[in-house]
Symmetry: C2
Subunit: 354 residues, 2 copies
Amino acid sequence: MVLKVCMIGSGNFASALVINVGDNVKANPETFDPIVNMWVFEEDINGRKLTEIINEEHENVKYLPGIKLPSNVKAVPDVLEAAEGADIYIFCLPHQFVSKSCSVLKSQVKAGAIGISLIKGFQIKDGELILMSEEISNMLNGMPVSVLMGANLATEIAEGKFCESTIGCKSYENGKTFRSLFQTNIFRTQIVEGDRITVEMCGGLKNIIAVGAGFSDGMKMGNNTKAAIIRMGIMEMIEFVKLYEPNTQISTYLESCGVADIMTTAYGGRNRALSEEFAKQYPNNSFEDLEKEMLNGQKLQGPLTAKEVANVIKTKKLEKKFPLFVTINAICEKEIPPQDLLESVQFTTYKFVK
Amino acid sequence: MVLKVCMIGSGNFASALVINVGDNVKANPETFDPIVNMWVFEEDINGRKLTEIINEEHENVKYLPGIKLPSNVKAVPDVLEAAEGADIYIFCLPHQFVSKSCSVLKSQVKAGAIGISLIKGFQIKDGELILMSEEISNMLNGMPVSVLMGANLATEIAEGKFCESTIGCKSYENGKTFRSLFQTNIFRTQIVEGDRITVEMCGGLKNIIAVGAGFSDGMKMGNNTKAAIIRMGIMEMIEFVKLYEPNTQISTYLESCGVADIMTTAYGGRNRALSEEFAKQYPNNSFEDLEKEMLNGQKLQGPLTAKEVANVIKTKKLEKKFPLFVTINAICEKEIPPQDLLESVQFTTYKFVK
């Protein structure tokens, strides 16, 4: 029996990674069904359906223009049809669509099917944090859901530039299956067994660090200070992960999902860039306005995650343990000026305790 | 009995940090002698002696112009006189002067005196690596020598910008003494007990990583790849440290001496900048020429350290464990083109094993 794979999502990152998946299933016909269905939220592109364009021209002209997709990737506008008979689900869609898609998929999930989430960030329900992998698993009858995170800017992947990625999973067997789907000569994956929660949480939390790094850039605080703020952010990241995974492994932070992703986000990337502008123009601008000006109205992940995380910290009354995260949120909310960033952490001693 | 402190060195970094030391001894007269002698290699500055200028105008016009030194810092041109009666030695001078200074100081070192090295990098003798702290200790009758490392660009420190730093020491007591000398509201030190070797080696090895990062910038390999190369550099750094400190603590790499210093060096700094140029202009330029063009002939640390480290690796026949370090050196030596950088590590799996 070969395994049928479906991609739930068709944005920038989904389209970049479905290339790897399409090529890999084709190359391994003894393991995988040669067709990869990709659920595409139907859109009208100059009078033509997006699915039709993808299936005829093998290009996602809306979300990854200029890059050819493998011809064995089939765009399907109906999510149930896309996932029909699937043994392996790859989730790569915005948060807000997860719940709706899963409630539709629930009825037809095969026993024994496995999933992987490529979605960065988390949700908050009733003051508690819910990881996307767990949300999906809960909605899909307890399906085991792994995660893939790392320094993986979609455009660079699609352009064929080398990168590393981290697969976090409970079972190494599942990790190996996902590696055989995603790994190529220029997309190298490392499997982290038993520390999935850390891998997944890094993907969300790093955006808060990037906001702090952007503030320090906006205030021209220099290289030493910026590095110190990022480092303190890593220390708070570890402490925050510990709330959900007391056995978090410090070595996981040295994987691509950790330091590598933090560096790309805190030295490049739009969370950093908009936060720099925010601090420069303070108080004459807000993230909402900057999102309109610089992102065509797309929401920035960092301030959102900072808010969610600050809420959890306040609910748990742990403000003293997370001065940087709390302060970054307060600055985003304009409760305090960016100039107060340093003061919040200046005399804090961060120490990693096993 | 109060403790007498001397600074052996008067360059950019020594001059920036002697400000902290001068202010701290003045503020703690019950612990420290109020005068800090600073050994200054005598130079003629437009017909005036540098020591005279420092002592009269409290400014190191040659190595830290525009910044006032505390008036209790006394420039002394003779190293023996500068260190007379010293209980605490701070070493902050170029490698090549260490041996000579120590051979002079040897005769007069007090029993019970302690030292700290701020010198980044190491020496190679007979194919073996010698840490500066150990070289100093060996030459000075076994004096215990701690180290201070971190994301500490001297000019930013002198400008009053916030930074963190790491003190590596065998004894926590010594660590605390050094913290009381260096720490200020904007220069925060963290003491790492028992992992001094790791702290010290990070300070040298990070420059090799910066060279790799610069090559990737020069070849426009993108953010994902750059982060991957830096991350793989960190993994090789840990492996290399293990050769000298099998009990290296992974948490030490999350201190300022680790990730923070690596980030500033690999995203800013001259090792990165010159290596970018080297890769761009390859094969039409050499590091020697670039040093002349861009550094007024000053030697760049990265290629030098890469060479020393590659020699150790080759002597120990460990090339397979350190493909990135060996390749970076081979590129610096023009044995292979920068384009071969990726190939060397593309299929390497780095895994942290305790």
